[in-house]
């Protein structure tokens, strides 16, 4: 039972937080919060590949696209199913989206993870772009128009739509967080880290590095698919261009900014990257010109200069608190 205690308590806490948010903030901030959770899932999962396994992947948005399209397509083909099953249907669709993305992850990862560094980055980048172009040309998936009018998360009786969405997204968010957290703290985490640190040594210790890299890639792709599926139902319109190069880069920036090897760092960075551009929007009324992207980029550069290992480095939030306590003790 130990395994479920903390996640369950956190989930309950988040559900209560959802109630508070429902009544305290407006719809605009509510959607931002949902986006933070969604990008949190994407950036945490990419951290497993980029931070823990040390493989630089630049195609995470591609896996999100696979997940988003799977979920959206399913909900178009079986609209009745979602009506009858409520959240269970959404859950199954998300699961299918994740699995589909994982299959893509396996297919892309198996050949390309034999490459290293820049070459891997180029191949994964290529994957994202190829997928985008293919999606642009598949008529049943809406081609350039994409899929619109995707069923949003429902209202359940007296439960408001925001609360239901929040509960649902938090649910996946926690599954993602705790799965990744636990995977990285046993033998599998050590395997990922050993590949990052020294592949030759890992091989000599009987670890088949390619298998380990593919495993990390598949797990990351699965959660990217989940995140994409959430995106689809949250924003309710998806086009191939959304999941382009820029989104991949954004997720990589979240990982690097938060700290390679720190999941909590990725979450904080996802929040920063989502909130910052929105906050700076209000600045425009003062300055008159749109300096949003200038200031945003500048702040990123400054953070990387003063904290080159990212906000948290390799530490998790709990480690940071421990360290801080020790310093003040």
């Amino acid at each position: 039972m130990r395994a479920f205690k903390i996640p369950l308590l956190t989930f309950i806490a988040l559900l209560l937080l959802g109630v508070v948010l429902q009544f305290s903030v407006n719809a605009y901030i509510q959607i931002l919060i949902l986006q933070i959770l969604m990008f949190g899932i994407a950036s945490m999962s990419l951290n497993l590949v980029n931070g823990f396994t040390g493989q630089f992947s630049l195609g995470h948005a591609g896996f999100m696209a696979v997940g988003a399209y799977t979920s959206a397509y399913l909900s178009q083909v079986f609209p009745g199913f979602l009506e009858h099953t409520h959240l269970l249907g959404f859950f199954l669709f998300s699961l299918a989206a994740g699995c589909m993305a994982a299959v893509f992850g396996y297919l892309v990862g198996l050949p390309s993870l034999r490459l290293k560094g820049d070459y891997l980055a180029i191949v994964t980048l290529g994957f994202g772009e190829i997928l985008r172009v293919i999606l642009l040309n598949i008529e049943p998936l809406g081609a350039a128009r994409g899929i619109s009018g995707i069923v949003p998360y429902p209202e359940l009786g007296f439960l408001d739509r925001f609360w239901v969405s929040f509960a649902y997204v938090s649910f996946w968010f926690l599954i993602c967080f705790f799965s990744l957290w636990r995977i990285t703290r046993g033998r599998f985490g050590r395997q990922f880290l050993s590949v990052r640190e020294d592949e030759v040594a890992a091989l000599s210790l009987g670890l088949s590095t390619t298998k380990i890299k593919v495993r990390s890639f598949v797990i990351a792709a699965f959660f990217a698919g989940i995140s994409g599926s959430i995106y689809a139902h949250l924003i309710s319109i998806i086009t191939p261009t959304i999941f382009g190069f820029m989104m991949s880069v954004n997720i990589v920036v979240m990982v690097v900014l938060g700290g390679m090897g720190s999941f909590t760092g990725s979450i904080v960075a996802a929040a920063f990257m989502t909130i910052m551009p929105e906050l700076l929007r209000s600045l425009q009324s003062v300055t008159g010109v749109d300096l949003r992207m200038v200031i945003f980029s500048l702040s990123l550069i400054l953070i990387m200069i003063f904290r080159p290992t990212g906000l948290f480095g390799e530490l998790e939030f709990s480690d940071v608190i421990k360290k801080w306590k020790r310093k003040n003790a």
Partner: protein
């Protein structure tokens, strides 16, 4: 009983015969030394034994089994573990983690056991940690357990590499210059440790070394490589008197 046997093992890189027609037989439980001047092909020989290189010619028999075309990973599973001349620790990880990674093949819990944090996970991790700690204690690294491996002093890093080879009960360990960079007393201590782990864990040890004192004092049998060819083999005293060996190390005496 022979633990490891090579039959006319050779590898050629173009015209260079890095290892040429080497026949070697190492008995179970033996402490075997492989010496030779720089560039004699000792490390290449190790790379052949661990499967980093495929031999051009010849066979490798391990514990009676032909492993000539077995990949590195599987050889490691069969029980051949090695250290590296230019230390290859997982520098960013802690000393304990370094040791635990080497125990991986002994762990059988699945990814779902780590999600569930169940008994299987707990008990296996506990056994692994105990094993690691006992070895770290034996090598007197137990006070560094939570330090990063890259921050350890040089001698300690060498020791940690040896610990890594010992974690999953290997049959044969290959030590590539284990005493390089160590001072006199450290070398002495290392000799005793190697002898001790050999006896305690029923190991066969093959080591490359430049430190003559260590080789002569420790090994029961020595083979000498020069330009990829085995030029001598025998007990330490025999080998050190062998004129061919003296020539390879010191050159011919100038005619006066």
């Amino acid at each position: 009983m022979s633990m490891l046997k090579t039959e006319s093992l050779s590898i050629h890189f173009g015209g260079l015969k890095a290892v040429d027609q080497v026949n070697l037989e190492i008995q179970k439980g033996q402490l075997f030394g492989l010496i030779g001047p720089n560039g004699a092909g000792k490390t290449t020989f190790f790379n052949l034994l661990t499967g980093v290189y495929r031999p051009t010619l010849g066979k490798i028999l391990f514990d009676g089994k032909d492993i000539t075309s077995t990949p590195t990973v599987e050889r490691s599973h069969l029980g051949i573990r090695r250290t590296f001349q230019n230390i290859r620790l997982f520098k960013g990880l802690t000393v304990l983690e370094n040791a635990l990674i080497a125990y991986d093949q002994k762990l059988s819990y699945s990814i779902f056991d780590t999600f569930a944090l169940n008994k299987k996970f707990d008990s296996q991790e506990k056994v692994a940690a105990e094993k690691a700690l006992s070895l770290l204690q034996l090598f007197q690294l137990d006070r560094h357990v939570h330090e990063k491996a890259g921050d350890l002093p040089y001698g300690a890093q060498r020791k940690l590499e040896i610990i890594r080879t010992l974690m999953s009960d290997p049959k044969l360990i290959l030590l590539d210059e284990p005493a390089a960079g160590m001072n006199h007393s450290e070398t002495e201590q290392l000799m005793n440790l190697i002898r001790k782990v050999r006896d305690d864990f029923n190991l066969t040890v093959l080591l490359i070394e430049h430190d003559m004192k260590l080789v002569m004092g420790l090994c029961e049998q020595i083979a000498v490589l020069d330009y990829g060819v085995k030029i001598a083999q025998g007990a330490p005293q025999e080998v050190s008197r062998n004129p061919k060996v003296i020539e390879a190390y010191l050159g011919l005496e100038a005619e006066s």
